[in-house]
Amino acid sequence: MKGGLAMQNTAPRNFETFAWRAMRISAFLLIPLVWGHMILQDVVVGVHNMDLGYVAERWASLFWRIYDGLLLGLAFAHGVNGLRQVLRDYLHGEIARRIVNWGALAFWLILTLVGFAALIAGVRAQ
């Protein structure tokens, strides 16, 4: 972190440099998106006032579906890469890191697909 200036000059153009940048740039989008979502759902509405009808009503609006799609796409990628970076701090072996990388990719892909499938399909009629 402290070598920020040096990094600008010497950082190799590889995936790790891209990931380092993406974590920081995504923050500027994630802060309004996540805080907006959290304040609305957890504080203003609250989990006691939610049911299937509430989700269906919310997703009837294209705006909220796009909002939730952005959240899912950005926040989960940020989170999984964060987890990957934490694990790389403690696992230094080439094989271990390769397992972490592929594991993170699979974990991210599966849950992202599951999330988008539900977001697109919507609430199942009872």
């Binding site: 920081r24 957890d42 989990v47 049911d51 934490v86 539900a118």
Partner: protein, 138 residues
């Protein structure tokens, strides 16, 4: 695993003060939020894959234990956001100003901002929890 042991014992013995506390709090809040986000993607996906199960998960989220966890989750999200903004701004815009005094001062400021954002939300959520689970303020 040896690296993990070295790191964890290092976290306890190293006296990095504010910068180290910010690092640890950022890491813990990020991992905590990530854990909830993973569960949250699955629970919301249930509205399509298994709607009845979604309703049961909602009941679990309404429990007092989860309600308290939710209040801490909101702190994690606020703290991780404000501290993430600090890291992003320094790294991307003012890397030459990353030094011990600015790191310590900004880490303190971040904690104060996060607490100021969190406290009104925490009070409101606690009120809602007491109202729904204990019948207070009726």
């Amino acid at each position: 695993m040896a690296h993990l042991k070295t790191a964890l014992t290092g976290y306890v013995s190293y006296r990095g003060r504010e910068g180290q506390w910010a690092f640890l709090l950022h890491r813990i809040s990020g991992l905590g939020t990530g854990l909830f986000l993973t569960i949250h993607i699955v629970d919301i996906a249930l509205v399509y894959f298994a709607p009845q199960l979604f309703l049961e998960v909602l009941q679990l989220y309404r429990s007092t234990l989860f309600g308290i966890g939710e209040i801490f989750l909101v702190f994690c999200v606020f703290y991780h956001g404000v501290n993430g903004l600090r890291i992003a701004l320094f790294d991307l815009k003012a890397a030459q100003r990353w030094n011990i005094p600015t790191a310590r001062g900004s880490a303190r400021l971040v904690l104060i901002i996060a607490l100021v954002l969190w406290l009104p939300c925490a009070v409101w959520m606690l009120r809602s929890l007491l109202l729904h689970n204990f019948g207070l303020f009726q």
